[in-house]
């Protein structure tokens, strides 16, 4: 049987049901935040291994002319090499509609029944594909709108002809970023099929796995260089050695960042809810000061009193856990599913380890206890004399400080409204606490929208530094004049500029291959791009081996203006001088949003590559710039190129790339709004708690008002207006907080996705939206205690002590 004092604890919690519920919900929200993060984290870290690492991703890729199984077998016998497999990736196009094509990465595999590196699995249909059959990665299906049994039309770079292939199966390749997110399709074909598409029958990559998926980059580099030496001794020319991000999924940075943000907001929600618990306990103690005095008079010692209130908090914590743990598990699993979609994963098991529950229980019980420690310490140490002479609300007399005086001088409004305003400022520390929590929720909400708009603005600014509307890449160089003449025939096209683009790789000081990037030759006086200069200068007409690098090479790869670097372009190696650095947002290579790139004088580059007078890369300006207009012109260009016999890899309207970049933020913005909702919920609870305590403390005052003629509606109005005033005050503070918070979160997101700070804007929509929401929260949070108060009989209210 439980002792009398614990019966008191239980009944106090039960009698103050609303307050107990608010405190339990507050703790539950904190637990929910932490639980969501831990659940999501535990599932995703497990699934990364089960999915991505399960594909046995390549540690290094060696590019050569003709890799085969014999070479792979020889390389596999080398120390440190676990697996080796020849591959080829062809950048092609797949038709998605009439005159509408999507980029297609074609993975060419010699033996589908002996996949060892970068493996993938059949989900539906048949395996392996026969000649003139293709397997499609599942995430590309929404993009190409095809199903098993359908015929797809593919254009390869070599001959630019339409080729029909039959889709015979859908595969899941966790090593690729989702096609529908990155606007790219993935297909898997045999060598015979490749040959039938008009391409050379050859595999040009040797993919190797080092030490069963080592993440040690120096070790991988060392083994890869040994493999290169062996290959070259055997007569294979290795044009480049690429070390992909060891053991990391292409989108794992995004997942880590989302988890980090989730963690930050989870902890924030927990801290805020703990403050709310501290405030609730503080209110409970101040309401029970006399009871504490009486208990001390009848023999209770300080530790016994403290034990009672810590016990109350412990019970609140248990209540919070009962609600918070299942909710956190549910949300964590949902988050894992959502993230799995971004990463193109399958959730094979949503098992949650025991430590996740243990941490939640520990946090759910200890954090509220810690938060309540100061109020409990103060409340339980009060002397009997102080306790029994406590006069409750009379202690903080309104009108004793400057704010009170200022508020009391406000005039020209109805008396109930004046009363509401003055009441708002009566319990200043409680008011500050409520405004603080609500403001943090509001600032998060506004930041979520601001970051979205800033992102959009950044993309707009970035795309505005590109003055072309359509980007065309041909599968082979064509004479410049012929290309220009062909393009300018299409109605709506105003200007065309010819560029040249090749792949270059830096040669490190020790002779090994360094970072590879796109080298673009442009006329120095180009009007198609005006990227903001970070350092140095743009290209000049007399430049020769001068290089202008983009911010990824500057900040990501550590190149500096003034550096002299050795570059390998094809088989040639030569020295270049970095003369400038520009901010180039939206550079792209194989679906990556942060791509290294550099610009040089086109004529000089053509001289090196021997492509003078020809081009495989053009930029076009049109008269109209809307997405619809560009799609029409692109379609007409496709037809024009067909009739002129120009084979192309891609014809991309700039609006498509812009949308693709903007879509990447949808994930983070949705996520921020979710977090804002979480924090705002704690804010709403804080306001409800404050209003409930305020109303309780003024019970007798309301009785007096009713005794002198106020009706229930008047009481309701006074309390609800007070709730709204607190909401509006918090909104003002939230506006001030929202800007720095938005800048921090925005730049964090910018760094992940485009390695650049955002062009920040403050959205009026965010301000207006939160004002409406916070007023609604104010009304809802104050209406219930006001309604409860207003319906009490006057004699009961007047007798309240």
């Amino acid at each position: 049987m439980i002792s009398v004092r614990w019966r008191k604890v239980l009944r106090d919690l039960w009698i103050n049901k609303t307050r107990t519920l608010l405190a339990v919900l507050a703790i539950a929200i904190g637990i929910f935040g932490v639980g969501t993060v831990l659940t999501g984290y535990s599932i995703l870290t497990h699934e990364i291994n089960a999915n991505f690492l399960g594909t046995n991703p390549a540690s290094a890729i060696l590019y050569t002319e003709n890799a085969d199984d014999k070479l792979a077998a020889a390389v596999e016998s080398l120390p440190g090499v676990t697996n080796a497999e020849p591959r080829r990736i062809v950048t092609a196009r797949i038709q998605a509609g009439p005159n509408e094509y999507r980029r297609l990465l074609l993975f060419v595999i010699d033996d589908f029944n002996n996949l060892r590196v970068s493996t993938f699995k059949i989900e539906r249909g048949n395996w392996p594909p026969a000649d003139r059959e293709i397997l499609i990665e599942r995430s590309a299906l929404p993009l190409i709108k095809k199903q098993i049994g359908d015929t797809v039309i593919i254009q390869t770079p070599d001959n630019g002809q339409d080729h029909e292939l039959r889709v015979i199966g859908i595969v899941h390749d966790p090593g690729q970023s989702p096609g529908d997110v990155d606007n790219i399709a993935y297909g898997y074909i045999t060598l015979n099929t490749l040959e039938s598409l008009g391409e050379t029958r050859a595999l040009n990559e040797l993919r190797i796995v080092v030490d069963e998926n080592s993440k040690d980059v120096p070790r991988i580099t060392n083994v890869a260089n040994q493999v290169r030496d062996v290959m070259e001794k055997r007569g294979y020319h290795v044009s480049q050695v690429e070390i992909p991000n060891a053991g990391k999924h292409p989108h794992s940075d995004q997942m880590d960042s989302l988890l980090f943000l989730l963690e930050v907001f989870g902890i924030l929600a927990l801290i805020l809810s703990s403050i709310l618990v501290a405030s609730t306990v503080s209110a409970l103690l101040s309401q029970q000061i006399r009871q504490i005095g009486v208990m001390k008079v009848i023999g209770a010692r300080t530790y016994q009193i403290a034990g009672l209130y810590f016990g109350s908090v412990l019970l609140l914590g248990i209540g919070g856990l009962v609600i918070g743990i299942p909710a956190g598990v549910w949300a964590g699993r949902a988050f894992a599913v959502f993230t799995a979609k971004i990463l193109n994963f399958n959730i094979t098991s949503d098992f949650i380890p025991h430590w996740v529950y243990a941490v939640q229980i520990l946090v759910g019980l200890s954090v509220p206890l810690l938060a309540a420690a100061i109020p409990v310490y103060r409340g339980s140490r009060i002397t009997v004399q102080q306790a029994i002479s406590d006069y409750g609300i009379g202690k903080n007399q309104f009108g004793t400080n400057r704010i009170d005086m200022l508020v009391s001088r406000m005039s020209g409004m109805g008396r109930p409204l004046m009363l509401s305003l003055r009441n708002t400022f009566r319990q200043r520390s409680r008011l500050l606490f409520t405004i603080g929590i609500l403001a943090v929720g509001g600032a998060t909400f506004m930041s979520a929208i601001n970051v979205g708009e800033s992102w959009s603005n950044t993309i707009d600014v970035a795309m505005n530094s590109r003055h072309y509307d359509i980007e065309v890449k041909f599968s082979q160089p064509y004479p410049m004049e012929y290309v220009e003449k062909t393009v300018l025939v299409v109605p709506g096209i105003s200007e065309v500029e010819v560029w040249e683009q090749i792949l270059a790789a830096r040669i490190n000081s020790d002779g090994t291959d360094g970072i590879s990037f796109t080298l673009t030759g442009v006329p120095p006086a180009t009007e198609m791009i005006t990227f903001p200069i970070i350092e140095g200068r743009w290209l000049q007409s007399n430049d020769t081996n001068s290089l202008v690098i983009n911010h990824e090479l500057l900040e990501g790869a550590g190149m500096k203006v003034g550096d002299r670097i050795m570059l390998k372009t094809g088989k040639k190696e030569m020295e270049w001088t970095v003369v400038g650095a520009v901010r180039e947002i939206g550079a792209r290579r194989r679906g990556q949003n942060i791509a290294a790139s550099a610009y040089v004088n086109r004529d000089y580059l053509s001289g090196i590559t021997g492509m003078e007078g020809t081009t495989a890369d053009i930029r076009i300006k049109t008269d109209q710039h809307s997405d619809a207009a560009l799609r029409i012109v692109s379609g007409q260009l496709e037809q024009q190129f067909d009739s002129a016999g120009l084979h192309r890899i891609s014809v991309n309207p700039s609006t498509e790339r812009m949308q693709e970049l903007k879509d990447h933020l949808v994930v983070i913005q949705m996520f921020l709004l979710l977090m804002a909702a979480l924090v705002a919920a704690v804010g709403g609870l804080a306001l409800a708690s404050t209003m409930s305590i305020n109303v309780m403390e003024r019970t007798r005052e309301f009785g007096i008002m009713q005794a002198i003629g106020a009706c229930s509606d008047d009481v309701l109005q006074i309390v609800v207006i007070e709730g709204i005033v607190i909401g509006i005050l918090s909104w003002l503070v939230a506006i001030v907080l929202a800007w720095p918070l938005g800048v921090i979160i925005g730049d964090f997101a910018g760094n992940i996705f485009i390695r650049a700070r955002l062009e920040h804007v403050f959205s009026p929509l965010a301000m207006a939206g939160w004002l409406v929401l916070v007023i609604l929260i104010g009304i809802i949070a104050s209406a219930y205690p006001a309604w409860r108060e207003a319906r009490l009989p006057v004699q009961q209210v007047l007798a309240y002590e």
């Binding site: 019966r7 106090d12 009871q291 001390k296 009848i298 004399q385």
Partner: protein, 231 residues
């Protein structure tokens, strides 16, 4: 200390510092109370009655002077030890009863035993029921305080004050919130307790108190103007 004098106050002064200067709640008060006495402390508002009771129950401390209750110099004991001492030795009764509203009458009476651990856990309920019977409200044992009349609540408060079988009962205007008939019942109860050996000290505004008590201490501006102690 004389064995007969269970309570002895020597030169007890209590001052409060306020905006208007130093206020003397008690001035050089000397008082002796013997076991089994029923003492009434009377005086006008502000004369120092409640301050004196608070000193006797260890709720407040003197600015100077000594207070001995039995063998304990309570002016030297710290708050926590005082709480323990008070729980075992002193029963306090308030004007407004101060029963804990979320506990039943029975539980209110059991609570001091719970805090002080003076009575074995399995005997607490029986003792509480016995005390309630002694004060005449055993049939109300399982009700919450809000459902009882003022007189019944004060009887419950007295039962609670007796929970740990203390030697002393201190009551601060225990009849101040009751009608005259109920007040007489309560005073009769105190008289009976004094007769059974408890020392009862009561602050009161009651007229004709002399018929109930064994001695009267009258306070005026913080000083004893007549009483059992030397003046």
């Amino acid at each position: 200390m004389n064995n007969e004098n269970l309570i002895r106050l020597t030169g007890v002064t209590k001052t409060h510092e306020g905006a208007g200067g130093t206020f003397h709640a008690l001035r050089e008060v000397n008082l002796d109370v013997k076991q089994g006495e029923f003492v009434a402390i009377i005086g006008k508002s502000g004369s120092g009655k409640s301050t004196m009771l608070n000193m006797l129950s260890g709720i407040d401390r003197p600015t100077s002077g000594e207070i001995w209750i039995g063998d304990t110099a309570i002016h030297t004991v710290d708050q926590d030890q005082l709480a323990k001492w008070r729980g075992r030795n002193v029963g306090v009764v308030f004007q407004f009863f101060q029963l804990l509203p979320t506990l039943t009458i029975l539980e209110n009476v059991m609570l001091p035993m719970d805090f002080c651990n003076t009575i074995p856990a399995n005997k607490r309920k029986m003792r509480a029921l016995h005390l309630l019977e002694q004060v005449g409200i055993s049939e109300q044992a399982y009700k919450l305080p809000a459902l009882l009349s003022g007189g019944q609540q004060q009887r419950a408060a007295i039962a609670r004050a007796l929970a740990n079988d203390p030697a002393f009962l201190m009551a601060d205007e225990p009849t101040g919130n009751l009608d005259s008939h109920t007040s007489e019942d309560i005073l009769q109860l105190f008289k009976g307790l004094a007769a059974s050996g408890k020392t009862v000290i009561m602050v009161t505004h009651e007229r004709d108190i002399t018929q109930w008590v064994s001695s009267v201490v009258k306070l005026l501006d913080g000083q004893v103007v007549n009483g059992s102690g030397p003046e």
